[in-house]
């Protein structure tokens, strides 16, 4: 069963612009994580935000979490061509803490 769904499915921007991706989920969670995947490769963990946190920063990344709306957003500021990748949210459901449930991803293309 899919917990998270990202929006938009695809996003194209110019270098220097900001990119915002959204994730919606269905059930209560303990935490939400964002991952990045370069084409044809494994996923790399970017950031984890816990259910009692509202915002978290890491370098050019800013993640927000709104548990009342069951949604999260990932903002990449001052994007670079090297940010071109797919981005996935993953949730740890509160009632099923054994595993993460991944969304379908947002494909980001940053043009130089």
């Amino acid at each position: 069963s899919q917990q998270g769904e990202e929006d938009p499915q695809a996003l194209s921007i110019q270098e220097g612009e900001n990119a915002t991706m959204n994730c919606s989920y269905k059930t209560s969670i303990n935490n939400l994580q964002w991952y990045r995947q370069n084409s044809g490769r494994g996923l790399v963990h970017l950031i984890l935000i816990r259910s009692n946190e509202r915002e978290k920063h890491s370098g050019r990344l800013r993640v927000t979490l709104d548990t009342s709306k069951k949604s999260s957003s990932l903002l990449i500021t001052a994007s670079r061509a090297a940010d071109t990748a797919s981005y996935f949210c993953a949730t740890e459901p509160r009632r099923d803490t054994d595993k993460l449930i991944f969304g379908t991803g947002t494909r980001l293309q940053v043009f130089p």
Partner: protein, 112 residues
């Protein structure tokens, strides 16, 4: 740095063959996971393991089995490969189910 390695990047097999996908991690992680990734469906959990000789079914275990004889190694087995098992297979490990997962580079399996 955590390293998760998978035995093959690309694999081509014939329908009915028995297929072994190997995954090794070097960080003494308790938890290991096998996912498959298909376009539009994101990552789906096949099996996971909390400890040696222990395994749990994920969301799509049908047609697969796993083996974990040693802590660092988690194998995915396709007993009789079918064309609908053509996919990207990703292995991951983590110190705790709640924490970030570290992924291998993936194996792209084609079943003819």
């Amino acid at each position: 740095d955590v390293k998760v390695t998978q035995s093959s990047r690309y694999l081509v097999k014939r329908t009915g063959e028995k297929v072994f996908l190997e995954c090794v991690q070097d960080m003494d992680h308790e938890n290991m996971f096998w996912y498959r990734q298909d376009p539009g469906l994101g990552l789906r959990l096949i099996y996971f393991s909390y400890d040696v000789k222990m395994k749990e079914k994920g969301d799509i275990p049908e047609g697969y089995s796993v083996s974990r004889e040693k802590k660092e190694r988690f194998s995915l087995i396709l007993e009789s490969a079918s064309t609908n098992q053509t996919s990207m297979y990703l292995c991951a490990s983590s110190s705790s189910p709640r924490d970030e997962q570290f992924f291998g580079p993936g194996t792209r399996l084609t079943v003819l």
